[in-house]
Amino acid sequence: QNDGNPLQSSDRPVQIEADMLEVLDDQSMAVFTGNVVAKQDGTTLQTASLKVFYAGGSVMQQAAAQSENNNGGGGGDGQRITRLEAEGKVVVTTREQRATGDRAIFQMDTNTVTLTGDVVLSQGQNVLNGTELVVNLDTGRSRLVSNRSGGAGRVRGVFQPSGRAPAGQ
């Protein structure tokens, strides 16, 4: 159980707080808006809005299917969350890393998080800039890419040998 990974999609519940939540049942979607903070173990996600997509049909189809195969009493696998979409001042912090961007998509089936927009990844004194950060939640490995049209498409980074304050900060 590698608990260093951000938002691992195990069965551990995620606590989410927000100013508002809108559940749109026939779209099998729930939208959190306003100071959204999602926490799971050591990982925290902050964003302006967070969309949660769940599979297994809408609440009603799911329930109808469930109760056909057993007479009441719940059971069946309920609804699975398939994807989270965070939008607006996205900040993902784990024990050692902090990444910010404009949008983040958590894909449960591939167990990956993709952060896009103006991505800044910092770990201790080291700061990396790019346009897309893909984190594999199973392995914890992340890949930072920069495909800025004008720029040289290169990831810019500032590495500080430990102990010295970063120069251009």
């Binding site: 100013d19 508002m20 559940v23 609440v59």
Partner: protein, 229 residues
């Protein structure tokens, strides 16, 4: 308290209090054209909408089910129905049973029915049902609204639950709202919030005021409650 309703001054309240004559309700049906338009779609809080089908002398939903009353008492201009129970069929042939310990109506404003000890259950397609309990309520058959007070609980047989302090139900607009704290257990997870608004017959639920959710990333409510996979 066993008492026979006297017909003087009462608009032909039938003497036979054990079962109310079908014809009496027939006449009342015409008053309730709009109620019949009520389409019942059952989300977690759907049963609250169904309560609009609860019986009163004036506006009876149709088609009518069986109406049982243990006794009717008249004191001054207040009519008290003991243990009224209405069972029957809603619009899409879904059956429902709504009962109360007591229902009181004042003849000066017959459209308002005070209810105590409300118990309701509505069966839906696919063998799902929703049950409701509420301590008190006020049904207004003209405004087609129902206000429920202090401790309302709604459960469904597929593990969903809603606990509210109060709820305002508008049957013509098919909305349920409450300005007081709410707790929900849904497939999305366990939800707590300061207020709730259910509209479009339950398809849209908006929760406001430090919303807190314990969400399962996968698996269903049962896992959260610890029943083995």
């Amino acid at each position: 308290m066993e008492s026979i309703a006297t017909s003087s001054g009462m608009r032909d309240v039938p003497h036979d209090t054990a079962a109310v004559r079908h014809s009496t309700w027939q006449r009342a049906q015409r008053h309730s054209r709009r109620v019949r338009r009520l389409r019942v779609v059952l989300p977690v809080l759907g049963l609250l909408l169904a309560l609009g089908l609860f019986v009163s002398f004036q506006s009876i939903p149709s088609p009518i089910g069986d109406v049982e009353l243990s006794s009717i008492g008249v004191e001054g201009d207040t009519v008290t129905m003991e243990a009224p129970k209405l069972t029957g069929y809603g619009e899409e042939g879904l059956n429902y049973a709504v009962s109360a310990d007591r229902a009181q109506q004042n003849l000066s404003s017959p459209n308002v029915v005070r209810l105590q000890g409300i118990d309701g259950r509505l069966d839906e397609e696919g063998g799902r049902w929703t049950a409701l309990r509420a301590a008190e309520g006020t049904l207004d058959t003209d405004a087609e609204t129902l206000r429920l007070d202090n401790s309302i609980e709604l459960t469904t047989n597929d593990g969903k639950r809603a606990t509210l302090q109060s709820a305002d139900i508008d049957f013509s607009r098919r909305t349920v709202s409450s300005e007081e704290p709410v707790e929900l257990e849904m497939d999305v997870g366990r939800v707590a919030a300061g207020s709730i608004e259910v509209s479009e017959g339950g398809k849209r639920i908006v929760l406001r005021g430090n919303v807190k959710v314990d969400m399962r990333m996968n698996g269903s409510l049962e896992n959260a409650l610890g029943t083995p996979e």
